[in-house]
Symmetry: C2
Subunit: 320 residues, 2 copies
């Protein structure tokens, strides 16, 4: 049973000092490793770990080829300013290979998880000699695992590390008693910049969750360009989340006076408090026109753009 | 070379009298036949033909199973009030069979054309003993055939009638010198009701052009229900055309708290003068909300609704 620490009861600097001490005591003269995604949780735990361990902590950012334009460099840049060196691991080929020929959304997610843990991060852990894995698990993750929303994860099994041989490995989860609001407070205290908190949330499978059907380099490139347009135009809109989705259906279009089957981009922009229920943001027609026109001009192969008008439920935030 | 009669130069009642006389002279004591679609051209030529020939003209409405709800009955009802009996030919099975397994839009169109002319109408022509085919061809059709936009049609070949054996068959095209505006004027003079002119134009392949991917009875039923909602809610909007399109892509949805892959309906509503360029009608958010909510409530299997925001070009009016 994990005891929750609410934001109201949280003494931020005392909490940080205590966790820094616990991490130091656990790791001693050893090596720890963690994977940074650029989300608030993994960013906060990275800062906490580096305050505790300095160069004894290796932080890797796994570039899976499914990220937004410039994402790895942007995240590494934030941390460089804070004096923390992030290793960017180029695993783009491995992820694209793993996704080849897969259309089913669940299987896509599974392929990404497997590639991340078993292949790429597992290899890094083994090669690094690190015996300590630092993870940004929060109390909500634990709740969701118990409730069956997230799958129960045996981290070692995920990493392809045999529990028999794995003797001595240790998982460190210093934020497991906190919820999101407290993690944000801890992150701010540790110096994380506002831009990092302002970034639109991005799900685990990244842009592959924004592609209906098979994920290929070319299709990821298409949805990445559309995502750039959507994030540029909507960045000042007060919305819970917004996204571009590449459809698999082909629709008729005209280019240079000729019929031309092309692709369709769907835009979703959601108003929501907690993602459980959501409704489409009532964007102005000026904004909708701008979105369509910039996508049609800037994204090769796209001849059609739609805007989601359905609520959740029965829709979901993501299409895939 | 066909001489155009412009609306300005058209003496409507004199034109009607002249064409009635020409049709009578041509048919004599014979039998003529025509296929009514419910569009303005075929409706006007039906009225002209019946004024000329009375019961010597058989008018058939071919129910292809791809029409809007109640379409055949509605069109036949208009004509019944004008004293003209329309035979509704139930060819639903033949069309659905012909469309089975076809995904390519061009091949869909071809299957419908072939089934219409060669199978169904060709059979009716042969069985009727009619030697005269009355057609609502207008000057714009001729222009488009010459320009290669429509395919050059040898009507006999389309009907599967051998030109050698076909000696004695004759095509009557009384409106071939007119354009749409003049046809409307002639139609009004012949008593066609305003509702018939107010109906939203519907392309030849009917609802099959509103289904991306394979056309099945179930998928036609889905898009038909969505079309009913769209036409009901948008009937007072001043727009050039509006439609519901059933996508083939499956998207994630929630029903009764469970993840459920479902279907997506795209709505298009166009502002346009002549269909050459068009932009999405700037519907109010009240209307968009109503469209989405009624479709989600009334159309089984649909979990997502989008609204087209792209212009033509590069989009086209129809998706398929």
């Amino acid at each position: 049973m994990i005891t929750e620490i609410t934001l109201k009861d949280l003494n931020i600097s005392a909490f940080i000092n205590q966790k820094v001490q616990e991490i130091r005591n656990a790791v001693g003269n050893g090596i720890a490793i963690n994977a940074l995604s650029g989300g608030v949780d993994s960013s906060a735990v990275t800062m906490l770990g580096h305050r505790a361990l300095g160069n004894q902590l290796r932080t890797v950012f796994i570039e899976n080829g499914l990220m937004r334009a410039g994402e790895a460099e942007q995240v590494a840049g934030f941390f460089k300013k804070l004096g923390v060196e992030i290793e960017i691991i180029d695993a783009r080929e491995e992820f694209l290979d793993a996704l080849k020929g897969i259309n089913d959304p669940e299987k896509k997610r599974e392929a990404i998880t497997q590639t991340f843990y078993k292949k790429v991060f597992g290899r890094l852990v083994r090669e690094s000699g690190a015996k300590f894995l630092l993870q940004g698990t929060i109390l909500t993750d634990v709740d969701e695992t118990v409730a069956g929303i997230k799958r129960q994860h045996n981290v070692f099994e995920q990493l392809g590390i045999d529990p028999q041989e794995a003797f001595g490995y240790k998982i460190l989860e210093p934020m497991i008693q906190l919820r999101k609001d407290s993690v944000r407070a801890v992150g701010k205290e540790l110096g994380l910049p506002a831009e990092l908190f302002d970034r639109i949330p991005f799900p685990g499978p990244a842009l592959s969750a924004r592609v209906i059907g098979e994920v290929t380099r070319e299709r990821i490139e298409t949805v990445r360009k559309a995502t750039e347009v959507v994030e540029r135009i909507l960045k000042n809109v007060r919305a819970f989340q917004y996204m571009a989705i590449l459809h698999e259906d082909r629709v008729t279009g005209m280019r240079d006076g000729k019929r031309d089957f092309g692709q369709q981009i769907e835009i979703r922009c959601w108003d929501s408090v907690d993602a459980r229920v959501a409704s489409p943001t009532q964007l102005s027609w000026d904004t909708l026109r701008q979105l369509a026109s910039d996508i049609l001009n800037e994204v090769p192969g796209v001849v059609s753009v739609t805007y989601n008008i359905a609520t959740k439920p029965p829709s979901t935030i993501e299409a895939v």
